[in-house]
């Protein structure tokens, strides 16, 4: 317990979290501080490229084993499964329509890559290693939850969802999946020699770039909270805080079954606990246009993301350390 608080406290004063807090503060105080859209996208391209590449290099260094395939399978199952749990909770805890609940549920089955990146960087500062292929697991967890969400929505009201081949292509080939897996492949193919060529670009400045990106995330989250003030009831907010640990528990179970390292366990917990804010919202706008975007965007970015960043990750780390004896 003490350890959890120690870790949490330490985590809270890292430049990364404080940058997010600064953005949040600036947006809530209605400062005109803003990161241009093109710059925010460029930062996210950088982070995806770097994290994918490093994951691939780590595979090249350590080789692969059966656990890789099993981990990906576990990720896919978690992504399919978690929306059902989220949906049940939402229907119990809030007065959301089935449609809105389905849309939100899809976000919680899928993942937030920046939460994953933040967890990676906490592991790194603690000197804890993790399986490089969790990057591939992250990519594999992006899409299946969308399927579950659409199934839940259609069960509620036939014809609610507008699904076609184009949508599937968009989901499976969405930019962040392609870049993450592509960079992973490049890292794997070129290995440590490839990394040596570009490490002063993708390794050294990584944390600093993450700070600026989190500043932007704070700004966007804060603006969202301000603009949708009132759109979220207390029940929905409670869901946004309760669902992450539940997801993390499922991730933990899977990690223990798979026999992942302590670091890997933290990352799978984090992935399960996190909620998408890029891929799933875009898919929902297309497939479930009647679902209210301010609900799912605000929950994911304004409630769950800060929770995971500040409280979640240190707790997952503490729990994983205890249970894997790391």
């Amino acid at each position: 317990m003490e350890m959890i608080f120690g870790l949490a406290a330490q985590n809270l004063v890292s430049p990364i979290i404080l940058s997010f807090a600064l953005g949040l503060f600036a947006a809530l105080a209605r400062s005109d501080l803003s990161v241009p859209e093109a710059a925010a996208k460029a930062l996210s391209l950088y982070l995806l490229f770097a994290i994918g590449f490093k994951g691939g290099v780590s595979i090249a260094e350590n080789g692969i084993d059966a656990t890789l395939a099993l981990s990906i399978l576990a990720g896919v199952i978690l992504s399919f499964l978690l929306p059902f749990i989220a949906f049940a909770l939402l229907r119990g805890m809030t007065r959301m329509s089935a449609l809105d609940a389905a849309a939100v549920a899809g976000h919680y089955g899928s993942i937030s890559i920046v939460t994953f990146v933040a967890a990676t960087s906490v592991l790194e500062s603690q000197g804890i290693a993790s399986e490089g292929y969790l990057v591939a697991v992250a990519a594999a967890m992006e899409a299946p939850a969308i399927l579950s969400a659409l199934w839940l929505a259609m069960r509620g009201s036939r014809g609610a969802a507008q699904v076609d081949g184009t949508l599937w292509r968009e989901i499976l080939l969405n930019g962040s999946i392609v870049l993450l897996l592509g960079a992973f492949a490049i890292g794997w193919i070129t290995g440590p020699a490839g990394l040596a060529e570009i490490d002063s670009f993708i390794v050294a400045p990584f944390k600093g770039v993450l700070c600026l990106f989190l500043l932007d995330m704070g700004l966007v989250a804060g603006r969202g909270l301000r603009q949708t003030r009132g759109a979220l009831g207390a029940g929905a907010v409670a869901f946004g805080l309760v669902m992450p640990p539940i997801g993390a528990a499922f991730g933990l179970a899977a990690a223990l079954l798979l026999g992942l390292s302590t670091g890997g366990t933290v990352l799978l917990m984090t992935l399960s606990a996190s909620a998408s804010y890029i891929a799933v919202p875009a898919a929902m706008r297309v497939a479930l246009p009647q679902a209210n975007p301010s609900i799912y965007l605000t929950l994911s970015l304004g409630v769950t993301f800060p929770f995971n960043l500040t409280v979640g990750i240190p707790v997952y780390l503490a729990v994983a350390t205890l249970l894997t004896g790391g």
Binding site: T166, I278, P289, P293, L297
Partner: protein, 103 residues
């Protein structure tokens, strides 16, 4: 200068629907249009702004399409099929153009 009657159709639509609108326009044989970026806005679903956004979900684009008056109906039907259950605005204005053979 010699000008000709035409219609200027302006469609403000969610960014993730851009591809579908483009296909629908192509299907209605409308091959001339221009896409403008949108910074932000306000509507029944609240205020929004593109600033600092990474995903395409929270954002719109504006499509301007100048057509011969005879083709407006086909264009509107095509656009409406895409827009129907989505947020967005369509307006049609009378205008005059040079080089009528293009529209």
């Amino acid at each position: 200068m010699q000008t000709h009657m035409a219609k200027r159709v302006e469609i403000i639509i969610e960014a993730p629907m851009e591809g579908r609108l483009r296909s629908a326009l192509a299907g209605a044989d409308i091959s001339g249009y221009t896409v403008l970026p949108v910074l932000g806005g306000s509507g029944r679903s609240g205020e929004w702004s593109r600033e600092g956004q990474v995903g395409r979900a929270g954002g719109m684009i504006a499509v301007i399409c100048i057509v011969h008056p005879d083709r407006v109906d086909g264009l509107l039907s095509a656009a409406f099929a895409v827009l129907e259950s989505h947020i967005g605005v369509v307006s049609v204005t009378d205008c005059e153009v040079l080089r009528a053979e293009r529209f």
